[in-house]
């Protein structure tokens, strides 16, 4: 009998892509709703986005069982925070909590690739991007998941300030309006859906601004 190798893994990859873009007074967080395993689709209608606090929204791709477990832990921790501080957690505070929660399982990680979006205490949009063990950074925009390799270079092209080496010195790229950012996100996903087999079905977009939170959906290719 040939030598057999252990082949059970505690992890699975359910695919999917997440994007977040921060604006001067808004934040756009988006993710597709396809959940897959291997070459099969489990469902076309699964939300990867959760609102953790008034001004914090998290989108996560990867292993959805771990994503759900992570969401529950953060929800419970937020309740404790509210009881202790008598107020909602700010987005930067939630960002640190998420990082600590991920690192807590450094040696059996949450297979979860997260982007956290929201408004900071000044009302400006903020986006935090993470790896699976909690390394994080505040950025103006980010994408995670199976389509991120296709989307991130495109966002860099559209949003990143030109190199400081270029002369004459050029200002940062003109900041986007809220509707321009939403359109950009839709474009990203439409393109990613074309070439990434794990991205598609439907796009869920959340927009956070001073008025509150708004949800929008867009159909994507289902193949």
């Amino acid at each position: 009998m040939p030598i057999q190798q252990a082949n059970w893994s505690p992890y699975d990859n359910n695919g999917g892509t997440c994007v977040a873009i921060a604006g001067a007074d808004y934040c756009v967080i988006a993710a597709d709703t396809r959940m897959s395993t291997g070459y099969n689709i489990l469902t076309r209608d699964y939300s990867k986005i959760i609102q953790l606090a008034d001004k914090s929204v998290m989108a996560s791709s990867g292993f959805q069982a771990d994503v759900r477990a992570l969401q529950k832990v953060l929800e419970a921790r937020h309740l404790v925070y509210q009881h202790q501080h008598n107020k909602q957690m700010s987005c930067p505070a939630m960002a640190q909590l998420l990082s600590n929660t991920l690192y807590y399982k450094r040696f059996f990680p949450y297979y979860s690739f997260n982007v956290l979006g929201g408004l900071d205490s000044e009302g400006k949009g903020c986006v935090f991007t993470y790896d699976a063990v909690g390394s994080y950074e505040r950025v103006g925009y980010s994408s995670q998941g199976s389509g991120s390799t296709l989307i991130m270079p495109f966002l860099d092209n559209q949003l990143k300030s030109p190199s400081p080496l270029l002369l004459p010195a050029k200002d940062a790229v003109t900041p986007l309006s809220e509707s321009e950012a939403v359109d950009l996100v839709k474009t990203c996903f439409a393109s990613a859906t074309e070439r990434d087999i794990y991205t598609g079905d439907k796009l869920e977009i959340l927009v956070l601004n001073a008025e509150g939170i708004r949800r929008e959906y867009m159909e994507l290719r289902k193949d």
Partner: protein, 276 residues
Amino acid sequence: MFRNQYDTDVTTWSPAGRLFQVEYAMEAVKQGSAAIGLRSKTHVVLASVNKANSELSSHQKKIFKVDDHIGVAIAGLTADGRVLSRYMRSECINYSYSYESKLPVGRLVVQLADKAQVCTQRSWKRPYGVGLLVGGLDESGAHLYYNCPSGNYFEYQAFAMGSRSQAAKTYMERKFETFTESSRENLVKDALFALRETLQGEKLTSSICTVAVVGVGESFHILDKETVQALINEFEIAGEEEAPANEAAPQDQGGDAQAGAADQGPTDQGVAPMDI
């Protein structure tokens, strides 16, 4: 009742079969400032008198939100109350985490009662010196429970605890039959009337009381000062309440024991309070 040789340890029985330390703990509840609760089919109202030590200090917090569907009012050693509120919050959060649903009120009060009982059977502990009025909503409707330092708990239509609470009880005993079908507004008004009874003539203003409501479609929340003052103005201008109706029936309708037990005077040497 006081100063006898069997009251040093909570683990020492008296010859009459009483645990005096537990009874002394219940005395502490009676010394606290008043807190009352009443419920209808769809709402529970908790109200408390908030006396500050001096003009310079802030008021003692006596009503705590435990979860969206449960709140608690305390009387007695407020530090013990704060600690137990934290325990209750933690239990609600853990239950929600495990079962993705709200902790039924009846389950929470049993856990609380068991926790209190532990302190009546350990020589290195002392009983909690706080009475808790737990008001909440779950699938089986609106509930109001009273948790005792002895580890006993009862469900009530209406209850009052703390100093001069008998006056509030008398008021509620006259009116409790109307509470089940009462509207939310009338329930809050009745709570304020009952609370006023405990002040013995002192003027009721929103600065010395706290009112909280939980109900169908309404998360537990403490009413803000302006709302409370507006309600007080509404009925104080309306004048005195009508004359007492029929003779008082037992407060608790569920066939549970007499509410009067908790308010027994020192002269009653008969039934031990926690025996009921």
